[in-house]
């Protein structure tokens, strides 16, 4: 009798294993695609930081000399050119926005992250848009930056 009951449950392990494998594959794919998105965003964040830092180094020399070294402000044209030169050299940056004032530089960059597993389920979702922004201000001093 027991043998006959046991014979009724034969094949259930195979079905359960198939269901679990699908779940595991979905979880792994989601994790990999999320990692790609975070990696792309981290890259864009570095690009924005580098551009903002480079722009914040371009001070107005005429104003600095005219104030005998007491006025430190940015040269907008030089700062913009320095930021753009950094961003144009990166092919992963699709678009950017650089705003320069006398005391601050704001940089916003945008790009796309390429997915690996999600396109298998959704063929149209090959990339997703990602972006990053940064700002920088010039700081100066002798012992420690003010």
């Amino acid at each position: 009798m027991a043998a006959r009951e046991a014979g009724k449950e034969r094949g259930q392990v195979l079905a359960l294993t198939a269901v679990l494998m699908i779940g595991i594959l979905a979880a792994v794919g989601l994790a990999v695609d999320a990692g790609l998105v975070f990696s792309a965003r981290r890259y864009l964040q570095g690009a924005a930081d580098a551009a903002a830092a480079a722009a914040a180094q371009q001070i107005d020399v005429m104003a600095y000399r005219g104030s005998q070294g007491q006025v430190v402000q940015l040269d907008p044209s030089l700062a913009y050119a320095a930021a753009v030169a950094r961003l144009e050299a990166l092919p992963q940056v699709e678009s950017y926005t650089v705003q320069v004032s006398a005391a601050r530089v704001d940089v916003t960059v945008r790009g796309r992250a390429r997915l690996a597993f999600l396109p298998a389920l959704l063929p149209l979702a090959r990339t997703v848009p990602v972006g990053a922004s940064a700002w920088a201000v010039p700081r100066y001093g002798i012992v420690s930056a003010q």
Binding site: A52, A53, I59, Q68, G69, A134, R139, Y140, I142
Partner: protein
């Protein structure tokens, strides 16, 4: 009456002038006679000058200016050797004016062309054209100088002093009087020449000049030249023969060149491909007649193929009745192009160049001059001279120099300061501009008209304060906003320096100059030092977002 008086006045004036001229002439003759062997001609400059000759020996004299007295020395010598040298020189023979082509312009006046079809091949077009040009040429006269070479002899005579045991006396009489002149001061430079006393004064050695009376005995000799005895003399003559040669060169000079179109005929040959029927084959034919002629007759016909390349010549005989039939022979030809050479005189046009001008002849002469060359061979002879030695005391003042120490006061030194931009704080990577403020020359007056001054000589800059001169320049730099040529770019901030500032050190070196009446002369150097505390900051970027 007036005319008689006027003539009388003129006569008197002429008489007075004649007397004066005669007196002067006598004086000049006395001058010539008074100096034995000398000639009374003047000579520019000093040195030995050939003055003339007398009694077959030559006399030289040299003059020397000693103070206000002219010292004249005489020396006698004789001709030693005569040589004949030849010189080659170029002389202008003629100056002629000629024309030379400066520029030429050619332009096309007319261009005419006509074409015709080959009579044998209508599709073959043949053309001929005629162009007419005009050429304008511009000439410019120029001056040509013709030279000829001349070879001329000239006699060179070498002289030597009189030989023998007889001393040639030198007549010299020197008189020196007057006051001595003050020599130019020459300061002794170097270490120890000037001593700075530390109280705003310095001590230096200056020369004191004075004149010292120092008479001396002047010995001089007065010589008398005796008669010169000469022996037999011989003469040689050299006759230089005139040689003149000439050469001519004929040249052609273009004055104008024109062009014209000329027409003529030229024997030309051309190959014409003549159409020819070439026998290709025959065809025999016999037909039965469709009707019956009463008597036989011949019928000939020629017809061509549709493309025109085949020709058929057919001759047929129609037999009469009762045996009516047609026998014929057909000759077939094919049309080919056989080359045929056609030679004939064809019209031909060409551009003819016409030149006009003329020939001229250049003649070059070369010749030598006729010259006589005379030499004299001398026998030995003797000179006798007596000299009288005399002496006299001559007053003389000679300059004397003694050195004395003198202490003078230094002028107030310029209060130089260090100027810098950016002044409040420098920036790493940005060149700081430096200059010297309150820079200039300071002067003071000493005793006895002595003047003392200090003049900037150079500037030594130590920008880091480490005691090492980073820049040494003679330029004081330029104040802001002029970009100064004294600049330094800090690579590190002054955070690691004592007090967080750089100690910029300027050492201004001045020349100490003294004027004791002969102009300023540098006797030493003075240095002045200034230090300015200069903070240098750095620039960083602070990120956010």
């Amino acid at each position: 009456m007036w005319s008689v008086m006027r003539r009388l006045v003129v006569f008197l004036l002429a008489t007075v002038v004649g007397i004066l001229v005669g007196v002067v002439g006598v004086d000049m003759a006395d001058v010539r006679q008074g100096i034995p062997g000398a000639h009374a001609n003047s000579s520019p400059g000093a040195g030995w000058v050939l003055a003339g000759y007398q009694n077959y020996y030559y006399t030289y004299y040299v003059t020397e200016q000693v103070g206000t007295t002219t010292v004249t020395q005489y020396l006698y010598s004789e001709p030693y050797q005569d040589r004949v040298l030849y010189t080659q020189e170029s002389r202008i023979w003629a100056i002629v004016w000629r024309n030379r082509l400066v520029n030429s312009y050619t332009k096309l006046l007319t261009y005419r062309s006509y074409c015709w079809l080959n009579p044998y091949y209508p599709w073959d077009m043949q053309c001929s054209w005629v162009s007419e040009y005009r050429t304008d040429q511009y000439y410019q006269p120029y001056q040509e100088v013709l030279y000829t070479t001349v070879s001329a002899p000239y006699v060179v005579t070498d002289y030597r002093p009189v030989y023998g045991s007889v001393q040639v006396p030198v007549y010299q009489r020197v008189q020196r009087t007057g006051v001595c002149s003050v020599p130019i001061y020459q300061f002794v430079g170097g270490d120890g020449a000037v001593t700075f006393n530390g109280d705003g004064t310095f001590t230096m050695w200056i020369p004191q000049s004075s004149c010292v009376y120092s008479p001396y005995i002047n010995y001089y000799q007065q010589a008398t030249v005796q008669t010169v005895y000469t022996g037999q003399s011989c003469r040689q003559k050299l006759n230089v023969t005139l040689q003149q040669t000439s050469s001519t060169t004929t040249r052609y000079l273009d004055t104008s060149i024109t062009y014209g179109v000329q027409s003529g005929q030229r024997y030309q040959c051309q190959t014409i491909y003549w159409p020819t029927w070439v026998y290709w084959g025959s065809r025999d034919c016999s037909y039965h007649a469709s009707w019956c002629p009463s008597q036989g007759y011949w019928e000939s016909s020629t017809y061509y193929s549709g493309d025109g390349l085949w020709r058929y010549d057919r001759s047929a005989y129609h037999h009469p009745c009762p045996s009516c039939w047609v026998s014929c022979t057909e000759y077939i030809y094919y049309k080919t192009n056989q080359p045929v050479t056609d030679c004939r005189y064809m019209p031909y046009d060409w551009i003819q160049e016409y030149r006009s001008g003329g020939y001229y002849t250049d003649t070059y002469f070369s010749y030598s001059f006729v010259s006589w060359y005379t030499t004299q061979c001398w026998d030995t002879y003797a000179l006798a001279a007596t000299s009288i030695t005399q002496s006299e005391w001559v007053d003389r003042y000679v300059p004397s120099t003694s050195w004395q120490q003198m202490t003078l006061r230094l002028p107030v030194m310029p209060d130089v300061q260090i100027g810098v931009n950016p002044g409040a704080a420098g920036l790493t990577g940005l060149a700081s501009w430096f200059w010297v403020e309150n820079n200039g020359i300071s002067e003071s007056q000493g005793p006895n008209g002595i003047r003392v001054r200090v003049v900037p000589a150079r500037y030594d800059w130590d920008f880091n304060g480490d005691g090492v001169t980073d820049l040494s320049t003679t330029s004081p730099g330029q104040p802001y906003p002029i970009p100064s040529d004294v600049r330094y770019t800090y690579q590190r901030s002054s955070a690691s320096q004592p007090g967080h500032v750089y100690r910029v050190r300027l050492t201004a070196v001045y020349d100490l100059q003294v004027d004791v009446g002969q102009g300023y002369q540098t006797v030493g150097q003075i240095a002045q030092e200034r230090i300015r505390l200069y903070p240098v900051q750095q620039l960083q970027s602070s990120l956010g977002g």
